[in-house]
Amino acid sequence: MDMQVAKKKLGLKEKYQVMTRGLDWEPSYQKKEDIYPYASYEGIKIHDWDKWEDPFRLTMDAYWKYQAEKERKLYAIIDAYAQNNGHLNVTDARYINTVKLFLTGVSPLEYMAHRGFAHAGRAFPGAGPRVACLMQSLDEIRHAQTQIHALSNFNKHYNGLHDFRHMHDRVWYLSVPKSFFDDAVTAGPFEFMVAIGFSFEYVLTNLLFVPFVSGAAYNGDMGTMTFGFSAQSDEARHMTLGLEVIKFILEQDPDNLPIVQRWIDKWTWRGYRVLTLVAMMMDYMLPKRTMSWKEAWEVYFEENGGALFKDLARYGITMPKCAETIALEKDHLSHQAWGTFYNYGAAAAFHTWVPEKEEMDWLAAKYPESFDKYYRPRLEFWREQAAKGKRFYNKTLPMLCQTCQIPMLFTEPGDPSKICYREVDYQGSKYHFCSDHCKAIFEHEPEKYVQSWLPVHQIYQGNCFPEGTDPTAEGFDPLAAVLQYYHLEFGRDNLDFEGSEDQKNFDLWRGQATKNG
């Protein structure tokens, strides 16, 4: 008897089906709700986990094969970049501040994603989504590590990157990305998937990676470009997972729709607020600019996101309401954010500056409605003051939004001359918000957001000084103590780019590299 005759070769879909399906089983020695205790408390109803389709169908052997090839290529370039002092090829040393922001603000989130997807990958009772989540968990530790490895060479030569992990858990503006991910991970597994898998990966990730990575390429940073693109190749899988999750949940039960819609509204806004840092990076921190924040928003959110929400309309999903507010903010966001960091440049782990004249002209061309009218005069004034030796550093701690934790720097939608404030009274205390959307998020779950570790409150409560500090001692300087708590080296990591150690070293080293000594 020849069994081979009867055996037909399985196609990709059938093969994946038998490789993964049927691995799980209905338990009988333990109760299902004890094995998957987190699967039902969010109110999402799933009737048939087997309806889940994984579009990419990667088995582990194929995964190892292709990922190893990516890693080989990536590390070859990282090594070559370090050996050739590739950092000296960047357009100018101001660029390096974007990678500082990335390593301190984003890389730790990649790690959180790794742990978060491990949690989701354990929590779902269905085999298909569990495998997809775990594969993403594995990819995410890759992203954290390749970023740390690729940027290690920058850390050897420049300031501001040296204690990124310590800073991420403490520094005031880094509580914005940190609280975003803490929020997602502490939500239930379904909300986590909508928050990170869908809203962040599918709707917003292109805005983080594509401009950042093209920006790196355009500014001569091969190392960053390579890890960025290499990570993106995994992102394509992650985005797809995010979209499949949404479709799957919505197809399972009509009662899921209002819950999912609320999560999409919430997480699009939460993610967008974090991208404030990216907006500022694109418009102010890249010496050679690829596209403006506003253009990126129009291409990647309004156009591509628009197509996505049109597609999801068949499930009853609508474009998040916050999109209207975001459209009103797109002419202002990056300018208001950079202005704030310029003010607080003494307490940031990267350098700030006033843009050159040509850069302001570029901004004026990209933002004809707003730049010359509202922001150029302010920047020019700051430059004049600095030239007179009166560089303004703000030493008053700002009020923070209870939800997104960004200082109250945003203006009223439609009125860029007035700061937007909202407040809520809850259990005898007053809570402050930057916007209607952050306020609404709080109001839905106040018991969660009252827990926020707000850096400014914590400083005032005395929780952000090095151990053993005596705040009653003669001549105690609270801000100096806070910077010590951050491990931020005064005069090296912070203050103006002009006159910084980074600037001096870069000029010296580049001189050695390009001229005869």
Partner: protein, 331 residues
């Protein structure tokens, strides 16, 4: 020969990140494993309690009864960060692919004695579900454990076990067809021989302490199952009965166990060496799960070994005890 390669020589400001330098005794060049592992997990100033576990912080050492002064005392002897891991597995999958091709191209599966093929299918294919269980458990340890040094290798272990489940599926398809997967699942669900093991796996799913789960899964169950099934039954007994081709198909599992046990031993050793309290706890957990695993594996061993099963299992247990004694946990 002297080669004068002219490059710009510039003096770096520092050799590595500060948090790494604090751990390796000062500012000196650090390995990619060190930079990719130390302190990666957040430890301070968490913003919110998990809605799914409000008793704990997002990452919280008190989820385990094991106490460590420093959870970065754990070291993976393989020094796996993602890149090193992916490259190691790509090489192994390349070998596995070659072995599957070799067996397939030469029709070696058809040359297996029918009784032997039957035994192999009965023994190996239900183990897909055990590997799947390990995938789930290692995902849990990775998610709820503390410190990257301890949790990082668990995501690799989880995905390795998914890979093993898929290799076992391929063996089933090569020696049989899609129907053998259903038969194996039916056996896993209902045959007396598999119920002890299935109960063990399901009971492990509800363990809350990530370190106890590590013991039940990676130390005990795999520590007995792999030597018994792959090293003794497949590579020894069945190979001698004309089943060398099968040993080629399970090469991945044999090599994998040889590699991962070094990490498991190192983890156990570090935890046990930390304190008398840890050591006592580990002894208690291991003794409990070892006896349960032994009882569960005996009927499985009988599938291939009949009346020899008890003696072979006793040998396996003895070797296991010796291995653990070396790792600092005498039973």
């Amino acid at each position: 020969m002297h080669i004068d390669l002219r490059t710009v020589s510039i003096k770096p400001l520092r050799q590595t990140y500060d948090h790494v330098a604090r751990r390796i005794g000062g500012d000196k060049p650090a390995s990619r494993y060190q930079e990719g592992t130390f302190d990666l997990q957040a430890t301070h100033n968490f913003h919110y309690r998990p809605t799914w576990d409000p008793q704990h912080e997002i990452f919280d050492p008190s989820r385990s009864a094991i106490r460590m002064a420093d959870w970065y005392a754990f070291k993976d002897p393989r020094q796996f960060y993602y890149g090193a891991y992916a490259l190691a597995r790509a090489k192994q999958q390349d070998t596995a692919e070659g072995n599957f091709d070799f067996v397939e191209d030469r029709g070696l599966a058809d040359d297996l004695p029918a009784a032997l093929r039957d035994t192999v299918l009965k023994l190996l294919v239900p183990l897909r579900h055990v590997a799947w269980g390990s995938n789930m458990n290692n995902a849990a340890i990775c998610a709820y454990g503390y410190g990257t040094a301890f949790t990082q290798p668990c995501v690799y272990q989880a995905m390795d076990q998914l890979g093993i489940a898929q290799y076992l599926t391929r063996i089933g398809l090569l020696l049989g067809d899609v129907a053998v997967l259903d038969e194996a699942k039916a056996a896993w669900m209902d045959d007396e021989a598999w119920q002890g093991l299935r109960r063990y796996v399901e009971d492990s799913f509800v363990l809350k302490d990530p370190f106890e789960l590590y013991v039940a899964q990676n130390v005990v169950l795999d520590g007995l199952l792999y030597p018994l099934v792959y090293e003794t039954v497949i590579d020894g007994v069945l190979a001698a009965r004309g089943g060398t081709a099968v040993a080629m198909l399970t090469r991945f599992m044999t090599d994998w166990f040889g590699e991962t046990r070094k990490w498991v031993d190192a983890t156990l050793k570090t935890a046990a060496a930390e304190s008398v309290g840890n050591q006592a706890l580990l002894q208690k957990w291991i003794a409990h799960w070892r006896d349960r695993a032994a009882g569960a594996l005996l009927p499985v061993a009988r599938i291939a070994l009949d009346e020899d099963a008890e003696a072979v299992l006793a040998d396996t247990l003895q070797q296991f005890d010796a291995r653990l004694a070396k790792a600092g946990v005498a039973l």
